[in-house]
């Protein structure tokens, strides 16, 4: 995801991005810019996707009822759209996290140290 010239499959970006959005918003509600900064910060700048792609993901998730949105004034006095995770969104996050754990566990076992072959 870090390199623009070798992009991962779109469904991987989309699915991963949505889980990261859910994770970020499960800690605190935020507007799009803050979500982008938080994901960037938490991933130590490894996951620097084109920030615009964040918005179609937010709109899709809002439409599915996983996020709620509200226009409010920020601390700096600007009007911004704040997103929040709904109950449905929390449920999806829990499902995705457990799936991710199983998947990464399986990948770790496959890619980990080669087990000694019994002779």
């Amino acid at each position: 995801m870090a390199k623009r010239n070798t992009p991962p499959p779109p469904e991987l970006i989309q699915g991963t991005l949505e889980v990261m959005i859910l994770r970020t918003l499960s800690r605190a509600e935020a507007h799009g810019y803050a979500i982008a900064r938080e994901i960037e910060k938490l991933s130590n700048n490894v996951l620097a996707v084109e920030e615009g792609s964040l918005y179609p993901a937010l709109y899709r998730m809002h439409k599915r009822g996983e996020l709620s949105a509200e226009w409010r004034t920020t601390d700096s006095g600007r009007r911004a759209k704040f997103y929040k995770v709904t109950t449905k969104g929390r449920k999806r996050l829990a499902e995705q996290l457990s799936m991710w754990e199983r998947l990464s566990g399986a990948v770790d076992r496959v890619l980990g140290p080669t087990p000694e072959v019994a002779t």
């Binding site: 799009g32 084109e50 920030e51 615009g52 792609s53 918005y55 179609p56 709109y59 009007r79 759209k81």
Partner: protein, 135 residues
């Protein structure tokens, strides 16, 4: 349909406003981190990606439903209009039929009355004939 259209318009403006705010904040942060303001706008756009494409993609997600609702609304309006016209036409037809039936009944009653009248006259004439002294 116009309400759905208004909602769609409001949403389109909100999408543009949301994306514009993101770009502005990105630009300000780049300037704050030491980038010359003249370069910050272009850098922000590069980091964001194609704004028009993102806006269209978001609009497509939002309006897919709105457009479907508008179409459904139109179809329902047409169906109800046809049903209403049909009902009015049927009522008018029934009223006309009732009017004709009433006229027919009046005409029949008039004929019956005339027949009764002529029978009465016939009876009177016969009575007069019978009462006349024989020649």
């Amino acid at each position: 349909m116009s309400r759905a259209h208004d909602a769609a318009h409001a949403n389109e403006q909100e999408i543009a406003e949301e994306l514009a705010l993101h770009l502005r904040q990105l630009e300000e942060d780049l300037v704050a981190s030491g980038m010359p303001p003249a370069e910050a706008a272009a850098a922000a756009r590069a980091k964001f990606g194609n704004v028009d494409r993102v806006r269209e993609e978001c609009a497509a997600i939002v309006f897919k439903e709105a457009r479907m609702k508008a179409r459904l609304h139109l179809a329902l309006t047409i169906t109800l209009s046809i049903a209403l016209c049909g009902t009015i036409a049927l009522a008018a037809f029934r009223a006309r039929a009732a009017q004709l039936a009433q006229r027919e009944a009046i005409a029949q009653a008039e004929l019956a009355r005339q027949a009764q009248e002529s029978a009465r006259l016939e009876l009177e004439r016969a009575k007069a004939m019978s009462e006349r002294p024989p020649l």
